[in-house]
Symmetry: C2
Subunit: 307 residues, 2 copies
C-alpha cells in the first residue's frame, strides 16, 4: 500500500466518528423503553455531537497494539459515556450553570435538573457495564482500572473539585496545570492507554508505554490551551457553547496567564512535545511506524482546530 | 462446634460492621489529602453510619460459596459506596431535598451542593476502582458486571427515575413493586449475588442460584415495607432521618396502599418467602446448611428492626 492509498485524516476521523455513533446508538439503552425520560436524556447527552477526541484517540492508540475492533468499540463508548456524564453534571446550576453545549440546550435545561443528575449517574454506571462486556477478563479488568482511576478522585472528579476551589483565587501556572491534568488530562490519558490496552499491551516495552503517556499528557494540555484560545476568539455558533464564560466567572485560563500570543506559542511547543513522545513509541520493536500515523494527525488536529 | 459456640447475630453483625468500617477507612481516599473538601464529603457519606445491610448480606452470602475475606471486603465496600453515592444524590435539593440522614446533616447541607454532587460521582467511580483491585480477573469482571447492572438504568438509577415520575400519580401495587425492585431491590440482590460470586459461584447449581435471587427479592421488598411502617410509627431520633416525608411529598407507600396492619402482615409473609427461598439453596450439594445461618438471621433482623 502506498501512502496515497491511506485515507486522509479527515476521511478516517469522519468514518470512525460515524462508526462510533452507529455502535453507541445500538449499544445504549433504547429509545421508547422505560424509564423514557432518563433514557432520552442519556442518549441526548452522548449521541449526535462532540468532537469524539477521546474515541478517536482510543481507536488510534489501538493501532499501536493491534487491538480488535470489538474491544476498541467498548473502550471508546465507555470513555465517551464518562465524558458525557461529566459534561451533564458540570453544566448543572450548582456547578458551572451552562445552558448551551454542542450547539444545543444542556441536558438540565431540556430535561430538568433531577433527570440530568440521574442521567449523568446512569451514564457513569453504564460505562462500566460496557467494559464488563469485554470478553477477555484480564483486558476487562485492566480497562476498568484505567477508566476508574482517570474518572475518580485522583482524576476527573478531583480536578473538578480543584477547579471549584480555584474560582477567583488567581492560581499560578503550576496550579492550573495540576488542576487541568486531573480534570481533563486524566481522561485523555485514559483514552490513549485504553486504546493500547485493548490489544497487545503486554508486548509494549516500558519506553513505549511511557511515550504513549507523555504523548497523552502533552496533548491534554494542548487541548486545554487551544480551548482557552478559541474561547476568547470564536463566537457561540462556531464553538457550540457559551464563549467567554471562564473569563466572566473569573476563572484562570491559559490566555489570562500567558496572553494570546504566549498561549499560541505554548500550543505549538506542546504539539512538538507530543510528536517527540511518539518517537519513544516508534522505537519499540513491537510497533511499526505506520501505527502512529493517526496519533500524529490527532495532535495536528488538536492544535489546528477552530472549535 | 456446637450451636452455642456460634456467635449470636448481634455479635456477628457488630463484628462485621466494625471490620467493614476499619477496611473502608483504610481503603478510601485519606483525610487531609487534596482535594480535601471532596475527600471529606466522600468519607462523611460512607463512614461511620448506616445499618450496613448490603455489606452484611455480602459477607453472609460469601459463606455460601466459601469466599475469601479479601474479595468480600472489596465487594462490600463497592456496594456501600454505590449505596452512599445514591443517598447523597437523592438527598439533594433537585431530588428529595432532605436535610437529615443517619442522624446527621446531609452531605449537601454540610459541604454544599457542588461538592455533594462531585462526592456522589467520585464515590461511584471509586466503587469500580475497588472492584478492579480484585486479583482474579474473572471474579473482578463478574462482580463489576453485577454491580453495574444493579446500579444503572435497569436498576437503581432507573428506579429512581420511575420514583420521580410517580409523585402524586397514585400508582397501584404492581407499579410500586416494580419501582422499588429497581430503586432498592436491585442493589440488595447485587449484595447477595456479589457475596456468592466472591467465592465458588461456578459450583452452585441453577436452583441454588435462583434461590439466592428469590431470597434477595423477598428481602428487598420486606425492607421497603418495614421502612414504610417505621416511617409512620417512629420519630426522627430513632430513624436518623426525617419521618413522614413520603406522605408529605404525596409519594405512595406500602402503608398508604395496604394500611398499617396489612403492611405488617405483608412483611411477615415476605420473611417466610425469604426463608423458603433459602430452602432451594440448602438443597445444593455444594452448600452446607450452616452456611445459610447468617442469611436467615438477616431476614429476621430486617423485619424486626426498629430503625
Amino acid at each position: 500500500m502506498t501512502e496515497s492509498d491511506i485515507p486522509s485524516f479527515e476521511l478516517w476521523s469522519r468514518e470512525r466518528a460515524k462508526h462510533f455513533e452507529w455502535y453507541a446508538d445500538a449499544e445504549m439503552p433504547k429509545t421508547g423503553r422505560e424509564p423514557k425520560m432518563l433514557i432520552g436524556a442519556m442518549r441526548y447527552a452522548v449521541l449526535g455531537g462532540g468532537k469524539r477526541i477521546r474515541a478517536l484517540l482510543c481507536y488510534a492508540a489501538g493501532d499501536v497494539t493491534g487491538a480488535s475492533g470489538a474491544v476498541l468499540d467498548r473502550a471508546a463508548l465507555a470513555l465517551e459515556m464518562i465524558h458525557g456524564y461529566s459534561l451533564v453534571h458540570d453544566d448543572m446550576p450548582c456547578m458551572d450553570n451552562d445552558t448551551l453545549r454542542r450547539g444545543k440546550p444542556t441536558v438540565h435545561v431540556r430535561y430538568g435538573e433531577a433527570t440530568a443528575m440521574l442521567a449523568g449517574d446512569a451514564l457513569q454506571t453504564e460505562a462500566f457495564t460496557v467494559l464488563a462486556g469485554v470478553e477477555d477478563a484480564e483486558t476487562a479488568k485492566r480497562l476498568t482500572a484505567t477508566l476508574a482511576r482517570a474518572a475518580g478522585v485522583r482524576g476527573m472528579c478531583g480536578g473538578q473539585a480543584l477547579d471549584l476551589a480555584m474560582v477567583g483565587a488567581a492560581p499560578g501556572e503550576a496550579e492550573l496545570l495540576r488542576m487541568q491534568a486531573m480534570k481533563t488530562g486524566a481522561l485523555i490519558l485514559a483514552a490513549v492507554l485504553m486504546g493500547a490496552q485493548s490489544g497487545g499491551w503486554e508486548k509494549l516495552g516500558p519506553a513505549a508505554r511511557a511515550g504513549l503517556a507523555a504523548y497523552a499528557d502533552a496533548l491534554g494540555v494542548a487541548f486545554q490551551v487551544v480551548d482557552d484560545i478559541l474561547d476568547c476568539t470564536q463566537d457561540a455558533a462556531t464553538l457550540g457553547k457559551t464563549p467567554g464564560k471562564d473569563e466572566k466567572d473569573d476563572k484562570p485560563t491559559w490566555v489570562s496567564l500567558l496572553g494570546l500570543d504566549g498561549a499560541r506559542e505554548r500550543a505549538r511547543a506542546l504539539h512538538d512535545r507530543a510528536y517527540e513522545a511518539l518517537g519513544l513509541v516508534a522505537g519499540d520493536p513491537a510497533v511499526s511506524d505506520d501505527a502512529l500515523l493517526r496519533l500524529r494527525q490527532i495532535a495536528d488536529f488538536v492544535v489546528e482546530r477552530s472549535h
